[in-house]
Symmetry: D2
């Protein structure tokens, strides 16, 4: 049976939790997860609540309108998701295929509850892999000259397929402001450094040149400013002077895969809330 | 202003969260933390809820009786704590003083919101340290012959000082069943291995002999069976063939301190619930 | 140009390092790596030395006989490897394919400098994957009744293909003593727990039942006694009460892949020495 | 019996290791550790070799002159240390005393083989602690006006006591270029962030504001440019949205202590070599 998931943020005040959990209970819902957080600095309330729809008195459309009364009272930003409506995902990739390969195998194994609609690339390299896993593959090369036109084509493809979430799995093109605005808070990127250190190009080379003893990987929502969006997940691994640049890359690529797959699971579980250029992760 | 903290476990059913949060809201409480968990295997519901008593309509004693109605309805195991009533703690130690020293310095810095009533040891080694930090120190040597009598003296000391929580900070005596029963789920031990590996004596020697590549430390509640109680917190660190037994100990002692201090903060924050020889940690 | 790699162990005494490095230098070798270790408990000397054969005065066969003089003087156990002679590897797998898939993709990417000769399984599950990556696949089902005969067939296959190294990538059959003896110190297993905790069957279930806060994976050489051989590499990851058994498995499988691939790279680089049921890792 | 430790760096060429180990062997030395590294990018050779002076044919002064012949042949940068000549250390601290306290307790326990000559501070806060552990304590307040004069006094104090190594254990003053030059590669700082992220003031506040999911600590040699010297050691710990700024600090301070104490042990063991604004760590 499907579950409903509510994601809420609003100014904190007395009674919000009681109102939300009361709403679920009075309509005969069985709460299976509930987690809340209060940001002390901004006095903001965040909540994720998930309940079983078995025996629930309201249909999906009725939930929306019925909950709006509570939402208005507490000035909530809110969204509702249903676990039987799978998120439609597009993956963008360039020529480094390790993240894509990892995502595809996990998808095949059933680790991601989503509908992987397409892979978009500015190169041909991923074609064989896409075909092996049976995912539609679109090559859309991008140059400074054709960027606007090609992005329009991408946006049309994404909208025609009702794509909800875009995953940049080592896609080495900077998306324009208008593209980012069209999918606000719905584009996830994996950056191969411990942000905010080593933004931009060739972070492994930067880290190797600096002589750090730990390297990292970071997933974040894409915003207009490069590698500066809200951080979702990070991980690190030790390196030493014995590690060559190739070793940095080998170790780092393993981090990238782990961080990106954890991030996608969080996103598909509707466990991420953005606020003030940070994230709340209901894990 | 003080907060109230409720710890609850009961069979899961519809409406528990709504009932508990409704209780707080109807009495004008402001929830500052709420976290719940459902154990799918046993269908058990767990909750920790903390609210600000500023403006709350019920006094401390009235809360207890008023909440009992809800508790009975849902067959709850429950306890309530108030943050202005500090937990009274006793630390037991033998001859390895690193954990004690770490606890005392953190206590002095204000990291532990508790009242450290006494240090009990079967040796004189910790006396100088106890005096330096101004904590009452009792030496109670234990032999197989006098164990029962000495434990009785310890229990009397603990009860006379209304000690709520006992921390074994490398206390190398096995407590009798009757002692453990007298402080059930209120004795925390730090064991210098990654349990359940390397129980009992000389775990660093055992780990060194086995040639493991990672060592650990584990905090747990003390039960009658040696090193087998519910695990609260664990941590690990890498070792290699280059590490001597002395290096294992040096690295491991740092783990012990970190794990024990985190555990004590969890315990003092009333964030630990035991069930089925496991723990739920509301961190 | 190829490199030579010497792995040495012997009783420690003055002059060993000088003798070995002198041998390389006098024959015009350029040392690119050298690492040594002395085990204080047993007074044993270990060394791995790697040099560029460009301009070296001795041919491969001559190195062997020339070095024997030094080896005899110091009672050395020693082996020499040449980087242009690729290790021939066989992978054994049952029905959990995540480790195999990870190995195959890394192999395809060029992360493993070896010749992957075959995949052997007691089930059909891995066939598609093996074919996708173009690796010969042999199904050899094992029952208590046919075990001796089937193992003989496996040994013949391995010997016919001059296999140097066997990787058990979640192969759920216990190898007989005679099989293990036939490939002594040349069979690597990945066990899905933090050994020596949770040996044997269903380690994730064991860990979940125990309520540990950290789980692990361990690679080791296979010896006759189950899951008790010299440990090569281990890693751990945090879990909490919120993790179901399925989450334990999901997190643990990522550990297994990481530990096994690191182990295979160590083995192929001839960086592992066994002694006294432990390993020296020249990383 | 004392050991000798040689630290060497020079352009790589054939024969260096053989020459150095031959020197030790011909003079009847017993090598207890030897480790070398070649930096492929700059073709630089690094070596640390340690041998037992029991039975060695050369006295300490004779070693220096005898080895100079080899050093000149290979254009070596080199230093020799003897383990019976303890490093003389000064600790600088301001008002955050957790690192100092940790260092002092470990020093008392015998974890640091050094002679702790003095604590210098620009504040009175550490006085009690210094007295408790019996270490000379000097308060030298620094303002923009008196900085040059006060640093001269500090340098005189350090030189009068023949201090070899300066540890900045949360000393919140920027040292002048002339001070840094006077103790080049002999001043170690602990910075409370994962460098190069969050340089300068209030790194915990910076990290909290950025919403990172992992925080770190970094030890490095002090150079003129702020927080930019060669990195010696780093470590990280996970944080989440649930961690307040105070939690960041609490977790981070534990990292600082661990990283600084490991760094000091490396430095006292003469296991650190600087080159090209990086470090080689012979651990």
């Amino acid at each position: 049976m499907a579950h409903a998931i509510l994601l809420i943020s609003c100014p904190d005040q007395r009674g919000i939790t009681a109102a939300v959990t009361g709403f679920v209970y009075e309509n005969n819902g069985n709460i299976v997860h509930a987690d809340q957080h209060i940001d002390g600095q901004t006095n903001t309330f965040f909540m994720r609540i998930e309940w079983d729809l078995e025996g629930f008195r309201l249909g999906k459309d009725d939930i929306q309108s019925a909950f709006q009364a509570i939402a208005s009272r507490y000035q909530m930003d809110w969204k509702i998701y249903f676990t039987d409506q799978k998120t439609r995902v597009a993956v963008f990739v360039s020529r480094h295929l390790h993240c894509l390969q990892d995502l595809l195998f996990r998808y095949q194994q059933g680790q991601f509850s989503c509908d992987l609609k397409m892979i978009i690339s500015n190169h041909q390299d991923a074609r064989t892999m896409a075909e092996q896993f049976g995912i539609p593959f679109h090559v859309i090369p991008v140059t400074p000259e054709n960027k606007t036109a090609q992005e329009s084509q991408e946006i049309k493809l994404l909208n025609d397929n009702q794509v909800d979430l875009i995953v940049l799995a080592r896609y080495h093109q900077i998306l324009s402001k208008s593209f980012v605005d069209a999918f606000s808070a719905r584009i996830i990127n994996i950056h191969h450094s411990f942000l905010p250190a080593f933004k931009g190009r060739q972070p492994y080379q930067q880290a190797y040149g600096k002589g750090v003893k730990i390297i990292g990987a970071t997933s974040h929502f894409v915003v207009e400013q490069l590698d500066a969006g809200p951080i979702i997940e990070q991980d690190t691994v030790r390196v030493s002077h014995r590690d060559s640049l190739e070793d940095f890359i080998l170790k780092g690529e393993d981090l990238e895969k782990a961080v990106l797959s954890r991030t996608l699971r969080l996103a598909l579980g509707h466990k991420i809330l953005c606020f003030a250029n940070k994230t709340v992760i209901f894990d």
